[in-house]
Amino acid sequence: MRSRGSRAADRAYLIFASAVALIAVVAVGYLLWKTIEQTGETWSTYGIIGFVTGTEWVPTPAVGEALFGALPFIYGTLMTSFIALLIAVPTSIGIALATTVFLPRRWRRPVGGFINLLAAVPSVIFGLWGITVLVPFLRPALDWVSETFGGISIFGWHLFEGPVTAGSFFVTGLVLGIMVLPVITAIIREVLLTVPREQQEAAYALGATRWEMVKHSMLPWARSGIVGASVLGLGRAVGETIAIAMLLGNAPNIFSSILGPGSTLASVIALETNEANGMQLSALTSLAVVLFVIAFLVNVGARLLVSRGARGSGGARLRRVLVRVRRRPANAPGVPVDDSPVGGSADIWVPTRSAPLTITGSGAVSTSRRVRSRMAEGFIWGSLALGVVPLVLVMWEMVSMGLPALAPSFFTSLPPLDPMSYDGGISNALVGTLILMGIATVIAAPLGVLTALFISDVTRPTGWQARIARGVGFFVDVLLGIPSIVVGLIVYLGIVVTQQHFSALAGGIALAIIMFPIVVRAADEMLRLVPQGQKEAAQALGAPKWRVTWSIVLPAAGPGILTGILLGLARASGETAPLLFTSLGNQFFSTDINEPIAAIPQLIYNNTIQVQTPASLQLAWGAALVLVAIILFLNLAAALLSRRARPAEG
């Protein structure tokens, strides 16, 4: 018998959780509305079709009228993403296979983890590395390509035409490929690990070589997961901002040489918003909407592809992305039953082979099979090298360039005003980053956890509560897919423009919006892992729902939720794009959350795109080293926690 009091408390608890979840939704909804409002001018001037198909982008013409068309940026986004995937997908498959099948067992985890480190390197550091290392290194080769193949044209498109510029589609695509590589690899790896051993043994027992086993057992099994991972990688590539803004050269070109400059939706927003107003700001905001729509469609597409791979399992599980992709079980309902009459002896099987099989020597397995398997393995080792080498190079550059900067004064003094000076440090940026992370955590962590509680504690499958819970879940998924530059723009339009000034608070809110969905998803997953039996045991003892949540569910899921918060923080701390026009940056030391504030990623960005001197680059690499150390520390803490996080399976 449940008392009246506990019922009321339950009601209050649910209402409280719903209110918090709805506040989060409404707040972001308000910012979105402010953003959409801004785009009105564009649509009324050009129309949706006219804007999207417009090929000219001339915001400040010397003579005549300003023109705003989105097509060059849509083209640039798709082109850089295409080059990136062309490089990343085969390489990721190779690395995933190396770290699940081909490497000796004891090397698989460490190498996989090492590749995962790539994901911890923030975009801005890849931009820095691309400009200072990769571009000069590739220059001779690219010059040669343009001289040799410059004349080639496909339907009038001169693919490799000179002159070769510092920033180009090709180099940007390459760097972008390296950046999405760990994401795609990690998912494919998870999918490959779900291939049952029986499937692998089936191929081996038929006399397959390792590569033949992979080709016939693993790849068919993982196919939809691989496609889903690639599309998810595409989602990443499409939203990537800072590295592209640093590398692509900001020129609104369509079907230009891939060795020349271009611009993407994200990069033009990053580069032009600060100085834009009126029609240009409206057009940039419309570009953000276009970018958001593309990213949204790509993410939905990935979800659908992945769920096709997970067909047969419950709908709620699809959300837990690719971790548990499984095929239909062997005896799924609806398959025919073996009920034809027994007996009627089988036709006799007659072998046709006359000579006995050889099992020794070079003739036992044919040369062509050996060669093909060797070549496949060669490709796999090559992929592994392609994944490991850039990481090693970036790390090397960071340590060799950044370490000399790390004197004690590096942490206590401001950046020098003179770019030639080696004196100075990043004290303002370090403190700024910590303050921004603090603001983001204070906002995103409680909201995220309560939202997750709301989603998971609505157990009834129907009714208005369930509908709201589903709606909130969907909203969180949408947030998860919003490119970070769009988040920056939303906060800029909704808060900075309204308040008439940049502030640390606005920057923190932008980072919180990035953190929030990560926290919700992690917490949601952890809450689901708490065995139903434990909850029911407590409820059977007469505990009201809020009590069960408070004293059973939360303690069990606690470390996991904390892991999610740390991972969200790690992700947010490396972000540059959302800070560009929210916290703005600050040359001086500030702890006032109502004033613009410096941040490490932004300091690296500024030092790279402005006058580059050996001194300013040393400062940038030193800052990069500190930033990566912070991110790795957060990831490491999360990993250590998550080891103890999984509640015992019931």
Partner: protein, 310 residues
């Protein structure tokens, strides 16, 4: 069915164990003669091997997982075109033993084995033996049916030949598919949907497809690791029918924990067990199936087959 075999005395290359089921579990499934079983342990001579009547035998085979010894010194013969059942309680190492016979055991991390497994006149663990070629010559059917679920029924049959044979034209492929599916007693059920995904078949059909897939490679020996344990009784009966009908063409070694099944399908039975927890499995007794079940020589065998332990 029995092949008329003259037992060859004297085994210069392979020392014969002195008797059945004594001293560390050395024994032999030796009785290969038609009328009267010859003294155990005298088979495995070069004559039998040369004449092709002994396609596979093991000598002092021990298998390990890391430092744990799973089976110890198992010596057994598998005469041509017979079914040998390996029985024993759970965890006695009978599946491990079976997986040593086509070098699948070594796929498990830290797994290794010592001793020798002869495929005709060649030690499959010899220096220049190629595990890939060994597995092509020794087929295997697993506990749970494991067809390639996304491949069609026909492509499942053709999976092995596609690895190993240079080229088959369309007619040859169709012939092979039909011949093996007929051999596996599955043809009438699937002939109209050869291009359908194998994942859509019932469990019993899947297992027969797996047997057909193994047969399509025309192996010398077919290993079956509890092939019916995941199936219903009716499907089990069909598999047992199938085993009886194909043993004229292939030598079968079947691991089973179902003693009735061993009694129904096998010509010879080998009983493996562990004396105490943590000790390796040893071969206790082997011989004609009717003798092992009807007149066991060892006390432990009797206890097991009469259901008193294990």
């Amino acid at each position: 069915m029995t092949d008329h075999v003259t037992t060859v005395e004297g085994t210069p290359d392979v020392p014969a164990p002195p008797g059945t089921g004594v001293g560390g579990g050395r024994a032999s499934a030796g009785p290969t003669a038609s009328a009267t079983p010859s003294p155990a342990g005298t088979s495995g001579g070069p004559g039998l091997v040369a004449s092709g009547l002994l396609p596979m035998y093991t000598r002092d085979l021990s298998a390990f997982f890391g430092s744990h010894k799973a089976i110890e010194n198992v010596t057994l013969d598998f005469p041509r075109n017979t079914v040998t059942a390996i029985i024993g309680p759970s965890g006695c190492g009978k599946s491990t033993y079976l997986r040593c016979l086509n070098r699948m055991h070594e796929m498990v991390p830290h797994a290794r084995c010592t001793g020798s497994v002869y495929l005709r006149d060649t030690d499959i663990y010899g220096k220049d033996a190629d595990p890939v070629a060994v597995r092509r010559a020794v087929g295997m059917v697993f506990q749970r049916p494991n067809p390639f679920p996304t491949k069609s029924i026909a492509d499942n049959i053709l999976a092995g030949p596609r690895f190993t044979r240079a080229k088959l034209d369309k007619a040859q492929r169709e012939d092979l598919v039909e011949r093996t599916l007929r051999g596996a007693g599955l043809w009438d059920e699937v002939k109209n949907r050869l291009q359908a995904q194998a994942g859509g078949l019932s469990g019993g059909q899947q297992q027969r497809l797996c047997i057909a897939r193994a047969l399509a490679e025309e192996p010398d020996v077919l290993l079956m690791d509890e092939p019916c344990s995941a199936l219903d009784p009716q499907s089990t009966m069909r598999i047992e029918d199938l085993i009886r009908s194909i043993k004229d063409r292939v030598t079968i070694v079947i691991v089973t924990h179902n003693m009735q099944q061993a009694a129904r399908v096998s010509d010879f039975t080998a009983f493996i067990t562990i004396a105490n927890e943590g000790e390796p499995g040893r071969l206790i007794e082997t011989g004609f199936t009717k003798d092992v079940f009807g007149n066991p020589q060892q006390e432990r065998t009797e206890a097991y087959v009469s259901g008193r332990f294990g």
